[in-house]
Symmetry: C2
Subunit: 613 residues, 2 copies
């Protein structure tokens, strides 16, 4: 063997880890870890665009290209060119902060039912009569009466009033007036053709997604997504709460991190749509209760200790500048209501997106993120509950987990006694994303590679397996793994490990136990459910068959299970474009009965059962 | 004569001018000009508290005390001790900015009718039940339900939510919650005994007055008044508008000046009441339309050119920080509505203070400030109009004019063929305040010292006068003057000059012409008026007889004329302590019919008549 050692590289902010051979460039290591670093010049070291920061670890001598393209101050601070810098020791690399997914493709996660456009933000184009001694109405009253049909109690921000006289007179009293709620936010001469946008933000524990929406058409036009940077303080909400409680300025730090990320996403989505973020007049925010609290800077301490009380679960309106959001300063930020300490605005948004409580039949919605949230509509009553699923369903803590980007295994099936995989973009496999993970586990169970207890079939038992599967099972005990793709061109082996199976097992067990107890509480049988909605960043991709095979859901016909994509994001978009749907969200939150299941002894018993496959 | 020259000293920000002998100290000159400079050490040059700035003029050598108590940088900048610095040439002296009147004595200008306390700001002291697994309501909902009786749609400022969990738990869920409108502004443990105050501000063209009101009792507790610092850019509103239009950053400068003064007044009034300004939760502001615009930073340009259109005449709510006011940042600033370009919120406040439109009988209110505003209630309709009275009625442009502070002549009457004067505090006379001015003119007219045309009786005509009066008339032509008090101890002669008479003549002519035309427009005779209210900073002091004798008002029984003090300030206080009265102000503004009289040719004819005495 030429290589006697491997180095470990950790990438921030996502926390992806990869083992590499010494001498591998950072760009190559990132690629192996499933991360795309843009290398515009093709790695020739001439454009200087692939900057990253080497935060920890041995710093190799700068190459000639790095010396040419980076300043001494940058080099001192650890800034390097990813395509040039060959790692000589284990390292922690901070990626330059660009959102991971930007553009229209993120919009495919949205499933928006048709609602009439009736946004809280409205742009009015009006032509007013000029004042005269016979018509001495003030500038503001003149404008207010022209837009009055939709808002009888119009008021105005002082800034908007300051701009009013000049704007009215700039183009012969033809103006575009943007009204937020019943407050005049902007008055601009018509010729300046100011647009009017909103942003719907879904703050997940692991992932943050923003959708930019044209408020004059109600259509989403671009999106941006990124890791939740708070992930560095811990993968689940409990560790965030702990960090907030125990670190000096912990809460402030957590808040600043999420605000900075939302501002980045906002800029990226706006740039994509070629608009200025100051034309974003409203931001609707959903997230679980902890994310909601951290976003608002509210102490999350009491969420995490009995009796699990939020600071507020009502809708919150705030001004962008009060929260640090860089959109129109006369705009509004609206946080959808939460229900309880662990059932947040994201669950409310899922129910809104699917109009669950407007349906006459029972249905179940499972929002599978780091924190699993489940809503059960009995046809008359709405029950909600939560369970700690852990980050497995979002690809974190999965050894070769990655997000759904090119090279990710997104589909696995059994064929001819072996596995058949497909990857996003049909690229060489570099990792496994959520849907691939569910598929891989389902196939592993079906093929016998994983036992119903979750233990991987050992060598002694492997005789029962097909040759194809047996050959893919390598390693022993806790290092045992099912290889999905061999190590091509040093891109690393992609596999499902024993540890991965245990992570998923805990997650699905918690979800399954919770939803079973909810059904019992509501006096419903599985057969009574008209449909089961699978939501979450990965929800849209998960095949119903895999979810059923791995036992996330109790046995039922697969055609009752429907992936609804990022339904929390869809609900946020609906609340952005429709005041009626926003009001509906408040009704949903008020109506929801929260079931506190963790404290029931029954839950522990049930969990022990539901962990089994 | 030992002294062959006199020096002229001008004091800023008030613009008081005084002639002094060379070698007079600044403190002594100020005293002669009717200004009190506090000299705590009695002028011994040991405390250093009487600092002023010598802005223009010859700078005398610093005394030993000044070298000891002032830094070289201060001396370079012209800072001097008023008790030490003996002037050697004419000079402009900037007084250190301390409000001129602070304390309870300013409250005597208020005439508050009894209204039930129903302020927009309310402090609730509540004791909540602790949360439990059976009662998982959020902190905010728990509180909202406890204060819910008065506000069903309570929302909360993000800052208030941030403080909520700790405040609730600090004293076993006993808190004081301060609610502004329907927005939670502060939550403080009960033991911290947070008070709850409001500030009513009357921004006059020449004078700004602030009243601090305890919002738990509805009682004003202290006040502070000062010059409007914008006076340096011109005494009347038109010159302010010009400055805003023609100076670089003129509008910003004007706004900053008034905001700084209000902050000074606020601090002074709060200090007097021994509270922290952060417990001031609402500021209600009245002023004429131009002052209102400058306060809000609105371009006043179109107020001053036909068709005289305000930017807004609706009530304006804003957050203190948006305007730069240093009170509770979660508080509210509320500007009462205006009516027209020259009929402002101050007039509305006068009508509110006196409930004019709730009376069954016709009445007239005259608010005599730099801009005269007149309201006529016919018993059914409300008419308002304005006239440019000039600053004479506020003591400016009157040669020995001063405000109503110790040493001011406040009363003049005829007795035994001569004048009898009295001064505030029975001190040596140093100037003449508004009421004294009106009295002096009335007496001058009655005694024959001033002719009905406004010309002072010359030496040739003086034979008709009593000896006492004749001896007091000195000087010739435009320098002719009626001496009210001789030059005692170099405090300067106090007199009514020919120029003073001309200033008053213009002012009263404008007011009289306007109110006569209003009566005609409304189809009312003077006899129909049930009463005439005289408002304004000086209104309370003016004797009805003097106002009638000098012809400010048409002939009528003196008992119909009632001084109502600073009725604009009273109206502002009422709007601060009662939502009903605040609503009434909006009704008054909406109901008022503005009469644009200046453009009527009839006005000019009338004015020529009404200028005569």
């Amino acid at each position: 063997m030429l290589q006697t050692t491997t180095l470990t590289v950790t990438f921030l902010p996502g926390g992806e880890e990869i083992e590499i051979a010494p001498g591998t460039t950072i760009a190559e290591a990132a690629h192996q870890a499933g991360i795309n670093i843009s290398v515009p010049c093709g790695g020739k070291g001439i454009c200087g665009n692939c900057r990253v920061t080497l935060q920890e670890g041995e710093k190799p001598e700068p190459t000639a290209a790095e010396i040419r393209l980076l300043t001494p101050v940058e080099l001192d601070a650890g800034v390097r060119l990813a395509c040039q810098c060959e790692l000589t020791g284990s390292a922690v690399v901070q990626l330059t902060h660009v959102p991971q997914v930007v553009g229209k493709k993120g919009l495919r996660h949205l499933q928006l039912r048709g609602v009439p456009l009736d946004a809280n933000v409205k742009r009015h184009v009006v032509r007013l009569g000029a004042p005269s001694l016979e018509d001495q109405r003030s500038d503001f009253r003149r404008l207010a009466e022209a837009v009055g049909a939709s808002c009888i109690d119009l008021t105005a921000a002082a800034d908007a009033l300051r701009a009013l006289p000049a704007a009215l007179r700039a183009d012969n009293y033809q103006v575009s007036a943007t009204v937020v709620g019943c407050r005049l936010a902007d008055v601009i001469p018509v010729y300046a053709a100011a647009p009017c946008y909103g942003l719907a933000v879904d703050i997940g524990t692991s992932t943050v997604v923003a959708y930019l929406v044209d408020l004059e058409t109600g259509q989403p036009v671009s999106s941006a997504a990124d890791h939740n940077p708070q992930i560095r303080h811990g993968a689940d909400v409990i560790s965030r709460v702990e960090f907030a409680n125990t670190s000096r300025n912990g809460l402030i730090e957590l808040r600043q991190e999420i605000i900075a990320t939302i501002n980045d996403l906002c800029r990226a989505a706006a740039e994509q749509a070629e608009i200025d973020p100051r034309f974003i007049y409203e931001v609707v925010v959903v997230g679980n209760t902890c994310m909601h609290h951290l976003f608002l800077g509210l102490d999350p301490r009491y969420l995490a200790e009995a009796p699990y009380v939020p600071v507020t679960d009502e809708p919150v309106s705030a001004r962008p500048a009060d929260l640090g959001l860089q959109v129109n300063p006369r705009g509004n930020v609206y946080c959808l209501p939460c229900v309880a300490g662990f059932v947040g605005a994201d669950t409310v948004a899922v129910i809104v997106a699917e109009e669950m409580t407007r349906q006459p039949y029972p249905a179940l919605a499972v929002d599978i993120g780091t924190n699993g949230e489940i809503a059960l509509w009995s046809g008359e009553k709405l029950y909600v509950a939560s369970c700690a699923a852990g980050p497995a369903f979002e690809g974190a803590h999965i050894e070769r987990g990655m997000r759904a980007s090119p090279g990710a295994i997104d589909h696995v099936e059994l064929a001819d006694g072996d596995l058949r995989i497909s990857t996003i973009g049909e690229e060489q496999p570099v990792g496994i994303c959520g849907s691939g993970l569910f598929d891989a586990l389902a196939v592993a169970l079906e093929s016998g590679a994983v036992q119903p207890t979750g233990r991987m079939t050992n060598a002694a038992e492997a005789a029962e397996l097909t040759n194809g599967i047996r050959d893919r099972l390598v390693g022993e005990g806790n290092d045992r793994r099912l290889v999905l793709a061999a190590n091509h061109n040093h891109r690393g082996e992609v596999y499902l490990s024993q540890k991965d199976v245990r992570e998923i097992q805990l997650a699905k067990g918690a979800v399954r136990a919770t939803l079973e107890m909810m059904l019992e509480y509501a006096g419903l049988a599985v057969e009574d459910l008209h449909e089961v909605l699978l939501a979450g960043a990965f929800g849209n991709y998960i095949r119903a068959e895999s979810a059923l095979r791995m036992g996330l859901l109790p046995p039922m016909p697969a055609n009752k299970v429907r992936g609804v994509g990022n339904a929390a994001g869809s609900g946020a978009v609906l609340a952005l474009i429709s005041k009626r749907e926003r009001e509906y969200a408040s009704q949903v939150a008020a109506q929801a009965q929260h079931l506190e299941l963790f404290r029931e002894r029954e839950f522990q018993n049930r969990f022990a059962e539901t962990m089994m496959f």
